[in-house]
């Protein structure tokens, strides 16, 4: 008896298979960048042949958090800021499942910021997509951690006095091993980046620029964008931490001057994931732990000797 036959089944998948039977129409505002993430994710998952039954999409709260309502797979809509610990634990318990977490800039860089730092530091093997619209969308347009200095909103009527957070730099410093930025207006690059992120063995962070035409008109539409890998103006080695750091810094500054730089900023394929590190020191089972419960021949191995030795 098994409960995990969908894992690695290698079914032929069409991108429409991710459109849920119920609520197929996303209710984001017309022109919202969030549609771009949904489209890119469907494309990426189809390209990798991941069936809805072997994917887990964990989201936070925000307009962005509605993503899994429109994406057919195992979905868990958590609470504000907490998608990462849920997602990374699910991957530990059931490693054959493709785990993707997603949420807003407020959700991931603000209220959930500590989890972001630590999930990156620990290099859990999963993908994290942050819908960065530089605003709190769902709660109607308040300043977010990535809103630029001077950004006016109902909560900061005189303009934000705070420097925006630098998501890419923070990710690098925290320890993520795959870091990219893409934009909703760049669907092909977005899909390719999500494919790479999902394939990467370690924590992949995608800062996804998603315009919010309803509440953040200032942010324009993130056009025109430049792909730093395609452009001759930028030549850097994204496997080199120092060069990556400089490129990230430049990109974060440029955004607020109206220049939208995107691409792959840092790729470290050598660093072992949390799972691997733990396996190396004997603290991670070889056999997926969720599966053992369905193994009929599995003995619960309850022996005094193991439980009580220390107490004698």
């Amino acid at each position: 008896m098994s409960a995990f036959s969908a894992i690695g089944e290698g079914k032929e998948i069409d991108r429409n298979d991710y459109t849920p039977g119920l609520e197929p129409q996303a209710t984001w505002c017309p022109g919202c960048g969030d549609f771009g993430v949904l489209k890119a994710l469907k494309g990426a998952a189809a390209e990798l042949g991941k069936s809805p039954d072997e994917m887990l999409l964990v989201t936070g709260i925000g307009c962005s958090g509605k993503l899994n309502s429109y994406f057919e797979s195992y979905g868990f809509h958590t609470i504000h800021g907490r998608s990462l610990p849920v997602a990374r634990a699910a991957k530990l318990a059931n490693p054959g499942v493709e785990v993707v977490a997603a949420g807003g800039d407020g959700d991931g860089y603000g209220i959930g910021g500590n989890h972001f730092m630590h999930t990156a530091r620990e290099n859990h093997n999963m993908t994290y997509i942050v819908f960065n619209n530089e605003i709190f969308g769902l709660t109607k347009g308040q300043t977010s951690p990535t809103s630029p200095k001077g950004h006016k909103s109902k909560t900061q009527p005189h303009g934000s006095a705070k420097q925006p957070l630098r998501p890419l730099s923070m990710s690098l410093n925290s320890g993520a091993s795959y870091i990219a930025r893409t934009a909703a207006v760049n669907p092909n690059q977005a899909k390719d980046i999500i494919v790479e992120a999902m394939e990467h063995d370690g924590f992949s962070h995608v800062d996804f620029l998603t315009q919010c035409p309803t509440w953040n008109k200032d942010a324009r539409q993130y056009v025109p964008y430049i792909d730093i890998q395609d452009s001759d103006d930028y030549d850097f080695d994204n496997t080199d931490r120092r060069e990556a750091a400089e490129m990230m810094h430049e990109t974060e500054d440029a955004l607020h001057e109206g220049e939208v730089l995107t691409g792959r900023y840092y790729v470290d394929s050598d660093r072992p994931s949390y799972q691997q590190e733990k396996r190396n020191i004997g603290e991670m089972p070889e056999e997926p732990l969720a599966e053992r419960y369905f193994d009929d021949s599995y003995e619960w191995e309850r022996s005094y000797d193991n439980f009580l030795d220390k107490h004698k």
């Binding site: 039954d53 072997e54 868990f76 609470i79 318990a93 969720a290 439980f307």
Partner: protein, 585 residues
Amino acid sequence: MPADFNWAIGGEAGDGIDSTGKIFAQALSRAGRHVFTSKDFASRIRGGYTAYKVRTSVDQVQSVVDRLDVLIALTPRTIDENLDELHEGSVIVYDGERTTMQGVEIPEGMVGLDVPLQSIAEEKGGAIMRNVVALGAACAVADFPIEHLDSSLEKRFGGKGQAIVDNNKEAARAGRDYVHENYDHEFDYDLETTDNDYVLLNGDEAIGMGALAAGCRFYAGYPITPATDVMEYLTGRIEQYGGHVVQAEDELAAINLALGGARAGARAMTATSGPGIDLMTETFGLIATSETPLVIVDVMRSGPSTGMPTKQEQGDLNQMVYGGHGEIPRFTLAPTTVAECFHKTVEAFNLAEKYQTPVYLASDLAMAVTEQTFAPEEFDMDAVEIDRGKVVDDDTIGEWQNEKEQFKPHALTDDGVSPRSFPGTSGGAHMSTGLEHDELGRRTEDTDMRVEQVDKRNRKVETAQEREPWAYREFGDTDSGNLVISWGSNEGAMVEAIDFLEEEGIDVHFISVPYIFPRPDLSEVIEDADDVIVVECNNTGQFADILEHDALTRVKRVNKYNGVRFKADELAEDIKETLSQEITA
């Protein structure tokens, strides 16, 4: 009364008090004596008074008492701190050569044994063994055969090589010999030994052991006194069973990790104390609405805020029963003894999975720091049953799909319990969310579906109330009109208190309650009693409030929870109808 013997070693934190006490406790348990230990300590690692106390008897001991027979005092303060417990004839072992102990006064009527602990230890190989010399001296006083210390010493020092073990054995013997040679006092103690071999463990360890026995394979936690031992017990053990322990960045992460593990298919648990429970409460409602089984252990300590981190209190009961916004179905279990920590943990996992509900396990500092002996048979592993409830696999998933082959994680059933499928199961893909949802897990604000889902979640608790025993434990004279009720760790002290009261001609009927929610219906026993006393380690009597609430039958209720406010005409109608109804409990 058991013929008990009460022993303690006290000094500065960092003096090795704990490990010395433990060596003695282990030696006693191996010699077939029952042991109950307790600790006095300040929450500093070095500096500050600390003591390790051992109560022992050939019969089971379940509590501490205010009486000390032998005290090893490494500092003058140790004597001061224990004056109330020392009595006429108590023996105080101390090292008069130690600067701080010079000229120390032994209170009237007590016996001071001045043993040059440090000098003897140095002679035998190192000053560090002075506590072991003291143990030897104590063995002489208690007439406890020194050979029984040997296996504990081997266990404690074995890793450091045979030479060290041998030195320690000799140091202990030298301490004993010094007393024999220099004091011809007749001591009244004679620690009888038996052939029994007991296990010695504390409440946290019993919880860890229960978790492993129950098939818990995923644990996430953030260190906090007095819950850390649960994590430390599981670490290094759970891996042997194919499980994993995660040390989280904070308690917000810890509970969400445990939640993620549970949703992905594991039996999962987290443990913390009050300050951590506050943080975890954020996620509590999500666990319940998403109908995820999870065991959350609260090893309570004195609050509020950072309170007294190393002191006992049962102050979190309201938090566990009522904590979290909105209305959250849950179970709250409160083991009443160290052994029960094992059994209730197993039960907590089965309840969590059978009813897909978060379960609080309320333990406390008193149980966490107490090491107690038990016959190994108390922990009958073969009797442990694992019931994962309505988990579907590839074969059974079809029973729970609609006509469009969509899985129904929140199916409306008679007993309220829906099926569960884990990521990776074919045909089981579904949404789940902290938002109100329909049977498929899709968010909804439909007023009827809202009511149906709230009712369904509560129905699980009603079903559990009917199906599970929710039994309480009874002691003393069940016919007595003097009813005493307590919950959690007070049981041991109360059971022995019954004997003290009996000596004074007072009989009591004692009910020890291990279930806070749902709980046994005590209204009749309470009604029948002349006097009812609720014993608990807190200021306001939180459980007493709950029992009084249960006994109250005057109030009828009008409730509305479909998301729409009361409307005047509708409310008038409801009132009219309710006025004509009989009161239901």
